[in-house]
């Protein structure tokens, strides 16, 4: 056997990392090759010495890493009172309204997400986004982490940002957007459990029959949020009492949901109140392509 083929294997031979046949071949070779014996001795010396060059990590390294992983929370003052904001490295995990003390929040957090959160300072851009959303302004873009929720809940919640600020949509509309038009009740349940209200605007979803509807933190708060976003809530109540779901336009022959920005541009003289999809179809109107009012389940 030639040295060139053996010598590259000496180190693995030393470490016992060679397979049986290779090991035996090297052992046979070095039995009568003084050069390889010398080389092996030097490799062994390096291997014996090198571990002394190991270095211990600084004592605070573990704590520094741990400080950045896991869920954290803090409180943010908003126009609707204190909001508890929880977050991890992936984004905001919860916004909780209506609790004065941290204990109420932390137990709600553990109940809803099954995780513990540790108190810490909320990043400034998260504070700003939550405050803006509560004021009815367009919030700064911030990452939101709802990755632990069931897929359908995620689909429902992630469809919410498609409702423009200043407008509302029925539950059935959202169910359709989330890909399950018949799961209207399940959609309602997902919204009631929305861990990130304000930023995922579940307050913009209203009963199919009209009006403002319920909210996890009370219908008064919902009404206030919508009004700050520019939704005419009194008008929604009136339309609900009159049994009006859509607004049609006599000049374009298009019908919209009442808060659609296209519906609001219709001249008063051209406005036609419509009770349902059937009435709209009978009048020869087509659904608006922006607010997509035709409810498949309807």
């Amino acid at each position: 056997m030639r040295c060139e083929t053996m010598i590259e294997q000496l180190d693995e031979f030393r470490a016992g990392e060679l397979g049986r046949p290779e090991h035996d071949a090297v052992a046979a070779h070095i039995a009568d090759c003084p050069d390889c014996v010398a080389a092996l001795a030097q490799i062994e010396r390096v291997a014996a010495l090198a571990p002394q060059l190991r270095i211990d990590a600084p004592a605070d390294l573990v704590a520094n890493v741990l400080a950045h992983v896991g869920d954290q929370y803090g409180s943010v003052e908003t126009v609707v009172g204190p909001a508890w904001v929880a977050f991890n490295r992936r984004g905001i995990t919860m916004v909780y309204l209506g609790a004065d003390d941290a204990t109420t929040f932390t137990s709600a957090y553990a109940r809803r997400l099954g995780r513990q959160a540790r108190q810490n300072e909320v990043p400034a851009r998260y504070v700003q986004a939550v405050q803006q959303a509560a004021q009815g302004k367009v919030p700064a873009r911030v990452p939101i982490d709802i990755s632990g929720l069931p897929p359908f809940e995620q689909a429902v919640l992630l469809s919410l940002p498609r409702i423009p600020r200043g407008e509302v949509r029925p539950y059935a509309w959202l169910a359709r957007e989330a890909g399950r038009p018949k799961a209207v009740r399940a959609t309602g349940n997902a919204l009631a459990r929305n861990p990130v209200p304000l930023l995922l605007p579940c307050h913009r979803v209203v009963p199919t029959s009209g009006g403002v509807g319920n909210y996890a933190f009370g219908s008064t708060m919902k009404r206030g949020l919508l009004e700050r976003e520019g939704v005419p809530t009194d008008e929604l109540d009136t339309l609900a009492r009159q049994g009006v779901r859509y607004i049609g336009c006599t000049s374009t022959h298009i019908y919209c949901l009442p808060t659609c920005h296209d519906a609001r541009r219709v001249q008063p003289a051209n406005r036609v109140p419509l009770a349902n999809d059937g009435a709209a179809a009978a009048a020869g109107y087509r659904p608006c392509k922006h607010c997509k009012p035709a409810l498949i389940a309807g």
């Binding site: 180190d11 571990p51 002394q52 060059l53 190991r54 211990d56 990590a57």
Partner: protein, 195 residues
Amino acid sequence: MIDEAGGTLALAVHRDERGAVERLVQSYQNQLFGYALRLLQDPSDAQEVTQDAFLRAYDALTSRYDANRCRTLALRPWLFRITRNIAYNRRRARRSAQEEAFPEADGWHSPALRYESGAVQSLEMQEERALLEHALGRLSQTSRELILLRFVEELPYAEIAVVVGTGESAVRGKVFRALRQLRAMLTEMEAHDAM
């Protein structure tokens, strides 16, 4: 070689098990910090890089990798590779920020000597160690890195191949040549000392 225990630990981190991240950091921090320190020559840079590497690993394990990928992950070389990427990027950024007035920016000034472990060592061992450290400093960047991975951190060839991103047989050849240079240097330095 698949690191069995590594896969289990990766899975525990993936599942957000209590104490998993702490176990991850404690298992690998000395190796990764030592490696980063020798690549960067600066303790605070090395600490930041190591911390960043753990956080990136955490992000990947908890959001991008599914359970199966975590289970079969060769954790140790993967962590070394993350650390290496961050360290190289940082070194590149630092170099371009530095004036070219420091041509010896790559200079080896034996960081370990400021990081003595508490262990009492004989004078002879200390001398031997200093000798090795000095010889390492005269190797090329590539050779030095390979010697560190193979002999200081004691990684198998297959793992080194993952860390540096080349084939295993190429690593074997490079380690062999690095070792030959190192042995030549040690012999020469000892001959010089003996005079």
